[in-house]
């Protein structure tokens, strides 16, 4: 257990044996429909873990790998959900198109906003992102005729996947839908890993480690932060689109800053300096919340307590602690 005074980990970000970790995680995810019911879980819970895990990992591109603190990521998540829902409802009943719609809506708005705030840092960055998130929340909440307002966007549902040679029924078969989620999740996180391994990704880490030095090296900091923000928003919006497909519904609470806070705590809980940390955090958080909220009405206190305990006693997160343990 680490109560380190500083959380700046200066070791390289790339794990020593990335393939083993990845293999274990995917082995576990692939076999979910087999082992989860035996432990008293249910498949929809695993779907939620994947979706929120993807959101947290996308958020972590910013927090963990660029060192910039956004506290309004629920906005892009929620916009992604609305983008998907609106596409399905008004444009075409196509699941892939819905995902594109979601990514575009969340990504473009995120990118525009990111342009405005790229030169801010620290808590001020956080504060402005919260406020912008609330604008997005407010617009979806008030634009009754388009978004369904307070009641949420209804009247759409995910469509079966048409692959040309065959059609996969992800509408009524929850196991198929879980594997569909897993497939999208795998592709998205694969792209994220490639991105981080690229020169661009390494530059982001350089900015995180020492912004001043990076600036002296001639790196256009603001532009990199802006791009990182935009990419992060796109992936978060993708997670949001999946969320809309999962629920067949989009509602304004999906943009609320309390969800932003939950995305941050998942990331920190799992370990923000580890690639898979946010996924582990999301799994822990979702399962704990699901379990506690069935046990007691006062689950908010317990969730709040998780926040406080993680911050005070486990600031490195689960994977961060394991990582530190092996370094010795």
């Amino acid at each position: 257990m680490s109560t380190a005074t500083t959380t700046a980990v200066t070791t390289p970000v790339m794990p020593a044996r990335p393939w083993l970790t990845t293999a274990i995680i995917f082995a576990a995810l692939l076999t979910v429909p087999v082992w989860l019911p035996m432990l008293g879980g249910y498949t929809a819970l695993a779907g939620r873990v994947l979706v929120l895990g993807l959101a947290a990992m996308s958020f972590n591109l910013l927090l963990g790998f660029t060192g910039v603190m956004s506290f309004g990521h629920a906005a892009y998540f929620g916009l992604g959900a609305y983008g998907a829902g609106l596409t399905l409802k008004y444009i075409a009943p196509s699941t892939p198109l819905a995902m594109v719609g979601g990514v575009l809506l969340g990504g473009i708005l995120g990118s525009l906003f990111g342009r405005l705030i790229a030169q801010r840092r620290g808590v001020y960055f956080a504060m402005v992102t919260v406020a912008f998130g609330q604008i997005a929340f407010y617009v979806t909440y008030s634009w009754d005729s388009l978004t369904g307002g307070y009641d949420g966007l209804r009247g759409f549902s995910r469509a079966p996947l048409n692959l040309g040679f065959t059609t996969i029924d992800i509408t009524n078969n929850s196991t198929y839908f879980y594997y569909f989620l897993l497939f999208v999740f795998a592709v998205a996180t694969g792209l994220q890993a490639l991105l981080l391994a690229s020169p661009f990704g390494r530059t982001l880490v350089a900015i995180r480690e020492n912004e001043r030095r990076a600036r002296f090296l001639g790196i256009p900091i603001e532009r990199h932060i802006w791009m990182s923000f935009s990419i992060s928003c796109c992936f978060t919006a993708l997670a949001g689109a999946l969320y809309a497909l999962l629920n067949n519904f989009a509602d304004p609470m999906g943009l609320h800053y309390s969800l932003s806070g939950e995305i941050v705590i998942m990331t920190v809980m799992g370990g923000m300096r580890a690639f898979w940390g946010p996924l582990i955090g999301a799994a822990l958080f979702v399962v704990l919340q699901d379990y506690i909220s069935s046990m007691t009405v006062n689950w908010m206190s317990f969730v709040g307590l998780i926040f406080v305990l993680v911050v005070l006693f486990f600031p490195r997160g689960l994977l961060g602690m394991l990582q530190k343990g092996t370094e010795k």
Partner: protein, 289 residues
């Protein structure tokens, strides 16, 4: 029409005064300790509930004075026990900490005082309107504004003329130097947090008389307070003051012409400010970077 506009400007100033009280506390803590207190709205609720509990024993006026003090004491304790532990870390931790605290405090209020709203009573002389023509301005509103003016003047006087106040202002500008000069920075931050909580507690007592008590009562005020700070300019208390009044008046004026947009307008103002003048109306250049 002109009359209606004037009515609403007055009204907007009254609402703005509320935002100011809340935002000044947030701003104080943000400036000196670099912490966004997400639980600030819950300190407000706590102030209201404590006054509710004390009123049978101390009467309305006694509770009005004692409740903010207790809230301040509570804030002081929270800062000492928890928040000070994360100052040296990445700002993400202080955000998460106050965020979690907000969850716990809201749930505690619900647990102790119940999920439904509670009635609060204000003295009869305050609940009457000024006159038949000014029926929409009750004495309570006048009283609220007077109290806010007193509290804000008090705060500015405290920062200008007392030893602690001057140190807080100095610390806002350059904490390292203040520390080297031998000031106990830890204690300074605790006191500063307590002052912020005091303002929130006072706002809570006043809000309870106006809109009643419920566990989520602070939530609706938190975002406008953020916006007041951003619009006014981070780092400037005068800016926060102006920002709060500005969005209060803007909201009320919108009510005349397009009532449904009266909440949205404050967000529009923030966006405009962010685009045209990113540092805020009175913010210092570089303060937000």
């Amino acid at each position: 029409m002109l009359q209606l506009v004037l009515y609403n400007v007055t009204n907007g100033l009254i609402i703005g005064a509320f935002y100011v009280l809340m935002a000044l506390g947030l701003s104080l803590i943000l400036n000196l300790s670099n912490v966004i207190n997400f639980a600030h709205g819950n300190f407000l609720a706590l102030g209201g509930y404590i006054a509710f509990v004390l009123t049978p024993f101390l009467g309305y006026w006694g509770a009005l004075i004692v409740s903010p003090l207790i809230t301040a004491l509570f804030g002081f304790a929270i800062e000492r026990l928890m928040i000070r532990r994360v100052y040296s870390r990445d700002p993400v931790y202080s955000l998460l900490l106050t965020f979690g605290l907000a969850f716990i405090m809201q749930d505690a209020c619900r647990y102790i005082w119940g999920p439904s709203g509670l009635q609060t009573s204000i003295p009869d002389i305050l609940s009457a309107p000024l006159s038949a023509d000014l029926f929409f301005i009750t004495w309570y509103r006048i009283f609220m504004v007077a109290l806010v003016i007193a509290a804000v003047s008090g705060l500015f006087a405290f920062l200008r003329f007392t030893r602690v106040g001057i140190r807080i202002r100095a610390g806002t500008l350059d904490l390292d130097t203040v520390s080297i000069l031998g000031v106990n920075v830890g204690m300074l931050r605790s006191l500063n947090f307590a002052v912020g909580s005091l303002l929130a507690g006072l706002a809570g007592v006043l809000a309870a008389g106006q809109v009643g008590l419920n566990p989520n009562m602070g939530d609706d005020l938190l975002m406008p307070s953020f916006i007041a700070i951003i619009v006014g300019g981070v780092g400037s208390l005068t800016g926060t003051l102006c920002g709060g009044l500005l969005i209060g008046v803007a909201g009320a004026l919108t009510t005349v012409f397009w009532p449904a947009a009266s909440e949205a307008v404050i967000y529009v103002i923030m966006l405009v400010v962010l685009i045209l003048r990113p540092r805020g109306l009175m913010g210092q250049e570089g303060m937000m970077s």
